[in-house]
């Protein structure tokens, strides 16, 4: 194994710009639907890639539908860990207890390692990390999980990572303070500044190659 100098990841569903391999993105906003739309567009795998999603609030079928709603057959390239429902296919792994971050972390690492046996390129994401923060008693375990099982995979492999936070959620602490802390450990941030019938405005920071503002129709 070696740290790869790999090709950038395209995000055609949002912009023509590309994101460098190894980039970790903190995706924030108060509109959960808009966060979800942007999240799955960032996670949409191309032919030689796999998507790995830790879904805290959705079952496997919902995640499958979210991918296929972007492009038919996209879910065929996805590995799904769901904290809300059973495993209905080989591509879906059920997480019994969201607050058991030891088991969740080990399962997540295993899925990433297995996916890399097939193709080294992957897009990994958590939707929603704010739900994990809200569920656990001690936020330090979330930090340990992100450090041990999420950010490391991106540093070691040929991947793109997205960690979604609903800033309107009750996470048992100061949301702005937690986001400020997380932001320093992630490569950059995409914030959903505005979303409505006429379009969605994304403000980006710290991500090489992306414009500071992206206007898109989701």
């Amino acid at each position: 194994m070696s740290r790869s100098q790999s090709a950038a990841f395209g995000i055609d569903q949002l912009t023509d710009a590309e994101i460098e391999s190894g980039t970790s993105i903190l995706l924030t906003g108060e509109d959960t639907d808009a966060i979800e739309s942007v999240f799955y567009r960032l996670l949409a795998a191309e032919d030689n890639e796999r998507s790995i999603v830790l879904a805290t609030d959705d079952d496997g079928r919902s995640v499958t539908r979210a991918f296929d709603g972007i492009e038919s057959g996209l879910s065929d390239r996805a590995e799904i860990l769901t904290c809300d429902g059973p495993s209905h296919s080989d591509a879906v792994t059920a997480i019994e207890d969201l607050t058991d971050l030891t088991a969740t972390g080990m399962t997540f690492s295993t899925v990433v390692a297995n996916a890399q046996q097939e193709t080294p390129r992957f897009r990994a994401g958590i939707f929603l990390a704010s739900s994990i923060c809200g569920a656990v008693d001690d936020t330090r375990s979330v930090y340990r999980f992100l450090n041990s099982n999420f950010l490391t995979e991106l540093r070691r492999g040929d991947g793109l990572g997205v960690c979604a936070i609903d800033t309107g959620a009750d996470i048992g602490s100061s949301t702005s303070s937690i986001v400020a802390g997380l932001e320093t450990s992630f490569t950059g941030r995409i914030d959903i500044a505005d979303s409505g019938l006429t379009g969605t405005t994304l403000e980006t920071s710290g991500i090489d190659g992306l414009p500071e503002t992206i206007e898109t129709n989701l």
Binding site: M1, S2, D97, T99, D100, L101, T102, A103, G105, M106, T107, S109, T110, A113, Q117, C133, V136, D137, D138, T139, R140, S141, Y143, R144, F145, L146, N147, S148, N149, L151, T152, R155, R156, I171, G172, S173, S174, S177, I178, A180, G181, L182, E183, T184, S185, F186, T187
Partner: protein, 292 residues
């Protein structure tokens, strides 16, 4: 590095030594590994899951209690679904399936990575942590005559805010060292047990009005035992922008700080940095004379 394996310690040792160049110590039981932990500190621990007197998770439990920031890699062919985590829900470990075709290559790489990046800590580190630590080490703290100045300043800060405790602390890689402390007798704290390691990530003053109501700190026994109920911290920022420490006030009751008070705390932090810079500059200027 500590390797805990009943049967194949030599295989694991070979794999990690080849990649990391570290010396390994072998143990074959939870008890043996626990004894080793009492006698030595380790950069990393690699353990199997199934051991004769317990499991690798039992060992992780001990490590998290004795040396919480030491990374542990669980190297096993037991799938995650068969690992009993019910009693260890927040003992995050690095898991690697030893049945993977490239498992030993991965293990060496992972061990090197977890040591280089302190990956299993319960806090988020700044992306430029390496540069920050270099900036901190550029100050010869032990040699600078700052103790009395900082003690006086710490006394003034506590008095000004009518706080039960105030301190000036430097945030090292694994711990916070207190240069001055009024109202308590603290030398250092493990980094993930401090509020400062969170505060340093914010540009402005961080206030925690009630630690019992904040999930980042409410389960932190150290804070509870120290009687810390509220917190306000301002960054000590070097001229090139690295946050190397904090100037803080604590209280044993819930408390807020208004905008003026936050601004004043920032001014105290700036004053601390000015003293540190001046002392450091003076010492550097005097060195050639003394040597001559």
């Amino acid at each position: 590095m500590l390797i805990v394996d009943e049967d194949e310690a030599s295989d694991i040792s070979t794999a990690v030594e080849a990649e990391s160049g570290l010396t390994t110590v072998d143990a074959d039981t939870v008890k043996g590994a626990t004894e080793a932990l009492k006698n030595d500190s380790f950069d990393c621990i690699v353990t199997r899951y199934e051991l004769t007197d317990g499991t690798g998770m039992d060992l992780v439990n001990t490590v998290r209690s004795e040396a919480p920031q030491t990374p542990v890699v669980l190297f096993t062919d037991v799938p995650p679904s068969e690992i009993d985590t019910a009693s260890f829900e927040d003992l995050i470990v690095e898991y690697l399936n030893s049945d993977l075709p490239d498992a030993h290559d991965r293990l060496g790489f992972i061990v090197d990575d977890v040591i280089s990046h302190s990956v299993q800590v319960g806090f988020m580190a700044p992306e430029n942590e390496e540069g920050r630590l270099e900036a901190l080490s550029s100050y010869d703290i032990e040699e600078l005559p700052i103790e009395e100045s900082f003690s006086r300043l710490s006394d003034l800060i506590a008095s000004h805010f009518d706080a039960s405790v105030s301190f000036i602390g430097l945030i090292e890689e694994k711990q916070e060292n207190f240069l001055a402390c009024t109202g308590a007798d603290w030398d250092s704290l493990t980094r993930e047990k401090t509020i400062c390691t969170h505060s340093m990530l914010q540009e402005d003053v961080m206030v925690v009005e009630d630690v019992r109501e904040d999930s980042r700190f409410s389960e932190n026994d150290t804070l509870e035992n120290l009687g810390i109920r509220s917190y306000a911290g301002a960054n000590m920022t070097t001229p090139d922008g690295h946050v190397i420490g904090q100037v803080c006030v604590l209280d044993d009751k819930p408390r807020g700080y208004d905008a003026d008070e936050r601004a004043e705390l920032e001014q105290f932090a700036e004053t601390v940095m000015e003293i540190l810079e001046l002392r450091d500059t003076l010492q550097t200027a005097q060195k050639p004379e003394a040597e001559a």
